[in-house]
């Protein structure tokens, strides 16, 4: 357990979240030589001196890497954590990547939504949608899983409403849609594998504390 050579592996969500997170690590004095370089084709970046390595993965895969212990730590949006619903320790709210999980649609769909009739929902988040409509609203829904441009679904008549994350709402407005209901707030979270938390407790706790302090600056 004292073997300092065993690196702590951190999975980051590709894209904006990764950039912000690497900046934060930089603030903690942990640079990730090369990871910020947009043109690189390397998949994994090691900071040997600190015993830390980073890799970038698609959002929904980050909880999977952490759950199986292929990464000790992951940085991922709460939307993905809720959707994947794996047993992970969620230890820190990074506060950025802030948005809201919402049910959206044309204003005319509001009545249907409250009528108790079966509603068609298009979403990237079928598990969250199922949980929300069944448990919280006790409503029967038909869920259609899509992988992007969810706003399109009600416009072309694929679904009545959508469930998606909303940041500013401008895409919605431009397409004549509006937020009908808010489900929950979302932001970037640090998750930890349950075994790593025990076997590497000291190093991981220190790292999380450093991040927490860096957030306050």
């Amino acid at each position: 357990m004292e073997d300092r050579k065993r690196p702590i592996t951190i999975a980051l969500t590709k894209g904006r979240l990764a950039g912000k997170t690497l900046e934060l690590f930089e603030k903690c004095g942990i640079s990730s030589a090369g990871a910020m370089d947009k043109d690189t084709r390397k998949l994994i970046f090691e900071n040997e001196e600190r015993g830390i390595r980073f890799f970038l993965a698609k959002g929904p895969d980050v909880p999977t890497y952490v759950y199986y212990g292929a990464a000790d730590i992951g940085v991922v949006g709460r939307d993905t954590i809720l959707e994947e619903n794996l047993k992970l320790y969620e230890v820190l709210d990074l506060g950025y990547g802030r948005c809201r999980m919402c049910v959206c649609g044309p204003e005319s769909a509001r009545e249907l939504l409250n009528s108790g009739e079966t509603v068609r929902v298009a979403t990237k988040y079928p598990n969250i949608a199922k949980e929300y409509f069944r448990q919280r609203r006790q409503q029967t829904v038909e869920i259609i899983k899509l992988s992007g441009s969810i706003e399109l679904a009600p416009i072309v008549g694929l679904s009545d409403v959508i469930m998606d994350i909303v940041e500013t709402g401008s895409t919605l407005r431009e397409n004549g849609l509006t937020v009908l209901e808010e489900v929950c707030p979302i932001s970037a979270r640090v998750v930890v594998n349950q075994v790593s938390m025990k076997m590497e407790n000291k190093r991981i706790s220190e790292l999380v504390q450093k991040l927490r302090n860096a957030l306050k600056v």
Binding site: K5, V66, Y68, A71, L88, V91, Q194, V195, K198
Partner: protein, 339 residues
């Protein structure tokens, strides 16, 4: 060409042969020896049981993950998802009063119809023991030291058995007078080690600030024996203090056997299965992201089968353990152990 259905095994099921099979048998033999050296006697229970044996108030596996089918009379049957309820049923059914305390060991397949594409086996091998009819701290210590001895015998040199005590949390909840559905929400946040959501939840529920401070500390309240002192100092009521006392007693017993370096304590280790009544533990090692063994005390389980006896036990996930051993053996000096 034979069709796919005749030559392939279904997803989550597999053939084991040659070297791998031999290694598995050897590993299981080493564990059997440990169980026998503690005086445990093997018991065989059927692979198929009535659904009621694993119903939601008793079992640890959600109903939709059980393999279910019907007998000719229309009763629902299941393939056992784990052993403990079966062993409890058998002990309650067959053993006379004077047989207790009884030490039983088991070995065999368990079946969980988990979601696809998780790289999970649906049939996996479990070995374990149950000590029924002894509610003392000595019994808990015996089970914990067996867990450590069995993992040592398997060939692991670095592992940690993380021990919790559900009475500590239950005591705090009682002192805080929280409603039952809120208890479940609070429990979830603590077992996710998610202090920040917990804080919001506690504020919303208007929990006494002194007690809320204790609860907020729970996700981080784990580590070596020093954490027992902190837990004692934090305990807001007699029930929680008794839970810490109990762990201290166990710690003294384990230290006598020289096992303290394998044992840690975690007051945030909680479970949604309400059958655990005292200690609860998981064993971790490098090379696998999930525990290689789990166990705990379940003093009310036998009551479901018509006999009140305290009981404690653990099960080792043989396939997980084998994975961990294989990955640790592959390790080159200075290289990471990640799979």
């Amino acid at each position: 060409m034979p069709s796919i259905r005749t030559i392939h095994t279904p997803d989550g099921f597999r053939d084991l042969y040659g070297k791998v099979r031999k290694e598995k048998i050897q590993l299981m033999g080493r564990l059997e020896d440990v169980f026998a050296s503690y005086g445990y006697e093997d018991i065989e229970t059927p692979t198929v049981e009535y659904f009621d044996v694993f119903a939601s108030d008793i079992g640890t596996t959600p109903s939709n993950e059980l393999y279910k089918f019907f007998d000719r009379d229309g009763n629902t049957l299941v393939l056992r998802p784990d052993f403990t309820p079966s062993i409890a049923r058998a002990a309650a059914m067959h053993l006379p009063e004077e047989a207790f305390p009884v030490r039983l060991s088991y070995s065999g397949s368990t079946f969980v119809n988990a979601a696809e594409y998780q790289g999970r086996l649906k049939e996996s091998t479990q070995m374990g023991v149950e000590l029924i009819g002894d509610g003392s701290a000595d019994a808990d210590a015996e089970i914990l030291s067996m867990t450590a001895d069995a993992l040592k015998a398997s060939g692991l040199s670095e592992f940690q058995v993380s021990v919790g005590q559900v009475e500590y949390f239950k005591g705090i909840m009682e002192a805080a007078e929280v409603s039952p559905d809120r208890i479940e929400e609070i429990r979830q946040e603590i077992s996710r080690k998610s202090g920040f959501v917990l804080g919001e939840l506690l504020a919303e529920e208007r929990i006494d600030p002194a007690i809320a401070r204790v609860l907020e500390r729970l996700p981080g309240l784990f580590g070596d024996a020093a954490v027992l002192e902190e837990a004692w100092a934090l305990a807001p009521c007699a029930r929680a203090r008794a839970a810490v006392e109990h762990l201290k007693k166990i710690h003294a017993l384990l230290s006598e056997r020289g096992l303290e370096r394998f044992i840690g304590y975690d007051f945030g280790l909680l479970t949604k299965y309400n059958y655990y009544t005292g200690i609860i533990f998981s064993a971790f090692t490098y090379g696998t992201g999930e525990p290689v063994a789990r166990g705990g005390r379940y003093d009310r389980l036998l009551g479901h089968f018509g006999r009140e006896e305290p009981a404690v036990g653990f099960g080792i996930y043989i396939d997980q353990l084998r994975n961990a051993l294989a990955r640790q053996a592959q390790k080159q000096p200075g290289h990471p152990l990640k799979g």
